[in-house]
Symmetry: none
Subunit: 82 residues, 2 copies
Protein backbone atom coordinates (compact mmCIF):
# COMPACT_ATOMS: atom_id res chain seq x y z
CA UNK A 1 0.00 0.00 0.00
CA UNK A 2 2.05 2.90 -1.15
CA UNK A 3 0.57 6.32 -1.08
CA UNK A 4 0.36 8.51 -4.11
CA UNK A 5 3.00 11.25 -4.12
CA UNK A 6 1.79 14.78 -3.51
CA UNK A 7 0.44 16.76 -6.41
CA UNK A 8 3.24 18.63 -8.02
CA UNK A 9 2.04 20.48 -11.09
CA UNK A 10 4.68 21.30 -13.66
CA UNK A 11 3.81 24.53 -15.48
CA UNK A 12 6.49 23.77 -18.04
CA UNK A 13 5.23 20.30 -18.87
CA UNK A 14 3.55 19.91 -22.24
CA UNK A 15 0.43 18.72 -20.48
CA UNK A 16 -2.59 20.80 -19.53
CA UNK A 17 -3.02 21.49 -15.84
CA UNK A 18 -6.47 19.90 -15.76
CA UNK A 19 -4.95 16.77 -17.22
CA UNK A 20 -2.27 16.67 -14.55
CA UNK A 21 -4.99 16.96 -11.92
CA UNK A 22 -7.00 14.19 -13.59
CA UNK A 23 -3.98 11.89 -13.69
CA UNK A 24 -3.27 12.51 -10.03
CA UNK A 25 -6.88 11.88 -9.04
CA UNK A 26 -6.91 8.69 -11.07
CA UNK A 27 -3.77 7.49 -9.33
CA UNK A 28 -5.37 8.16 -5.96
CA UNK A 29 -8.49 6.32 -7.03
CA UNK A 30 -6.56 3.30 -8.18
CA UNK A 31 -4.53 3.36 -4.98
CA UNK A 32 -7.78 3.24 -3.05
CA UNK A 33 -7.05 6.53 -1.37
CA UNK A 34 -10.33 8.11 -2.38
CA UNK A 35 -13.76 6.70 -3.00
CA UNK A 36 -16.40 5.68 -3.32
CA UNK A 37 -17.23 9.37 -3.33
CA UNK A 38 -14.80 11.98 -4.46
CA UNK A 39 -14.35 15.12 -2.41
CA UNK A 40 -16.57 17.98 -3.52
CA UNK A 41 -15.38 20.28 -6.26
CA UNK A 42 -14.64 23.05 -3.79
CA UNK A 43 -12.71 20.67 -1.55
CA UNK A 44 -10.69 19.58 -4.57
CA UNK A 45 -10.07 23.20 -5.45
CA UNK A 46 -8.49 23.66 -2.04
CA UNK A 47 -6.58 20.37 -2.16
CA UNK A 48 -5.09 21.06 -5.55
CA UNK A 49 -4.92 24.81 -5.38
CA UNK A 50 -6.58 25.24 -8.75
CA UNK A 51 -9.71 26.98 -10.00
CA UNK A 52 -13.19 25.57 -10.25
CA UNK A 53 -13.08 25.22 -14.01
CA UNK A 54 -9.86 23.26 -13.81
CA UNK A 55 -11.37 20.77 -11.36
CA UNK A 56 -14.44 20.44 -13.55
CA UNK A 57 -12.34 19.73 -16.61
CA UNK A 58 -10.33 17.18 -14.66
CA UNK A 59 -13.44 15.31 -13.56
CA UNK A 60 -14.86 15.65 -17.07
CA UNK A 61 -11.76 13.79 -18.23
CA UNK A 62 -12.17 11.07 -15.61
CA UNK A 63 -15.79 10.69 -16.67
CA UNK A 64 -14.73 10.35 -20.30
CA UNK A 65 -12.22 7.75 -19.17
CA UNK A 66 -15.06 5.92 -17.49
CA UNK A 67 -13.51 6.08 -14.02
CA UNK A 68 -16.22 8.13 -12.36
CA UNK A 69 -19.89 8.90 -12.57
CA UNK A 70 -21.27 12.20 -11.41
CA UNK A 71 -24.73 13.07 -10.20
CA UNK A 72 -25.62 16.77 -10.09
CA UNK A 73 -26.39 17.88 -6.60
CA UNK A 74 -25.15 14.62 -5.17
CA UNK A 75 -21.54 14.04 -6.01
CA UNK A 76 -18.96 12.32 -8.16
CA UNK A 77 -18.42 8.62 -7.56
CA UNK A 78 -15.76 6.10 -8.42
CA UNK A 79 -17.01 3.59 -10.92
CA UNK A 80 -16.60 0.06 -9.71
CA UNK A 81 -15.25 -2.63 -11.95
CA UNK A 82 -11.97 -3.09 -13.75
Amino acid sequence: MSTVPPFNPDPDAPVYLYEQVADHLQARIEAGEIGPRLPGERALMDEYGVAHGTIRKATDLLRERGRVVTLPGKGTFVRKGE
Copy 2:
Protein backbone atom coordinates in the same frame (compact mmCIF):
# COMPACT_ATOMS: atom_id res chain seq x y z
CA MET B 1 29.49 25.71 -23.15
CA SER B 2 29.53 28.28 -25.91
CA THR B 3 26.58 30.52 -26.34
CA VAL B 4 24.74 30.69 -29.60
CA PRO B 5 25.77 33.70 -31.69
CA PRO B 6 23.19 36.44 -32.13
CA PHE B 7 20.61 36.07 -34.80
CA ASN B 8 21.93 37.50 -38.01
CA PRO B 9 19.58 36.90 -40.87
CA ASP B 10 21.10 36.89 -44.31
CA PRO B 11 18.68 38.32 -46.87
CA ASP B 12 20.90 37.03 -49.66
CA ALA B 13 21.00 33.46 -48.47
CA PRO B 14 18.93 30.95 -50.46
CA VAL B 15 17.04 30.10 -47.30
CA TYR B 16 13.69 31.46 -46.11
CA LEU B 17 13.75 33.81 -43.17
CA TYR B 18 11.49 31.54 -41.14
CA GLU B 19 13.96 28.73 -41.70
CA GLN B 20 16.83 30.85 -40.47
CA VAL B 21 14.79 31.66 -37.38
CA ALA B 22 13.98 27.98 -36.88
CA ASP B 23 17.63 27.01 -37.19
CA HIS B 24 18.64 29.65 -34.68
CA LEU B 25 15.94 28.57 -32.24
CA GLN B 26 16.99 24.96 -32.62
CA ALA B 27 20.61 25.88 -31.88
CA ARG B 28 19.51 27.69 -28.76
CA ILE B 29 17.40 24.74 -27.72
CA GLU B 30 20.25 22.30 -28.17
CA ALA B 31 22.56 24.64 -26.31
CA GLY B 32 20.12 24.58 -23.44
CA GLU B 33 19.55 28.29 -23.67
CA ILE B 34 15.80 28.01 -23.92
CA GLY B 35 13.32 25.52 -22.61
CA PRO B 36 11.47 23.66 -21.46
CA ARG B 37 9.02 26.28 -22.56
CA LEU B 38 9.67 28.55 -25.48
CA PRO B 39 8.91 32.24 -25.13
CA GLY B 40 5.50 33.24 -26.41
CA GLU B 41 5.03 34.04 -30.05
CA ARG B 42 4.85 37.75 -29.34
CA ALA B 43 8.05 37.65 -27.30
CA LEU B 44 9.79 35.81 -30.15
CA MET B 45 8.54 38.43 -32.59
CA ASP B 46 10.29 41.07 -30.53
CA GLU B 47 13.44 39.02 -30.01
CA TYR B 48 13.89 38.25 -33.68
CA GLY B 49 12.35 41.37 -35.11
CA VAL B 50 10.18 39.40 -37.48
CA ALA B 51 6.46 39.17 -38.10
CA HIS B 52 3.99 36.88 -36.41
CA GLY B 53 3.62 34.61 -39.41
CA THR B 54 7.37 34.16 -39.62
CA ILE B 55 7.54 33.00 -36.00
CA ARG B 56 4.66 30.63 -36.60
CA LYS B 57 6.28 29.12 -39.65
CA ALA B 58 9.51 28.73 -37.70
CA THR B 59 7.81 26.87 -34.87
CA ASP B 60 5.84 24.84 -37.39
CA LEU B 61 9.16 23.72 -38.79
CA LEU B 62 10.50 22.82 -35.36
CA ARG B 63 7.35 20.84 -34.75
CA GLU B 64 7.77 18.99 -38.03
CA ARG B 65 11.34 18.27 -37.01
CA GLY B 66 10.01 16.81 -33.79
CA ARG B 67 11.90 19.23 -31.58
CA VAL B 68 8.87 20.88 -29.98
CA VAL B 69 5.32 20.15 -29.03
CA THR B 70 2.71 22.86 -28.84
CA LEU B 71 -0.46 22.95 -26.82
CA PRO B 72 -2.95 25.63 -27.79
CA GLY B 73 -3.57 27.97 -24.92
CA LYS B 74 -0.57 26.69 -22.98
CA GLY B 75 2.56 27.12 -25.02
CA THR B 76 5.25 25.51 -27.12
CA PHE B 77 7.55 23.08 -25.34
CA VAL B 78 10.90 21.50 -26.07
CA ARG B 79 10.48 17.81 -26.63
CA LYS B 80 12.54 15.72 -24.29
CA GLY B 81 14.57 12.85 -25.56
CA GLU B 82 17.23 12.58 -28.23
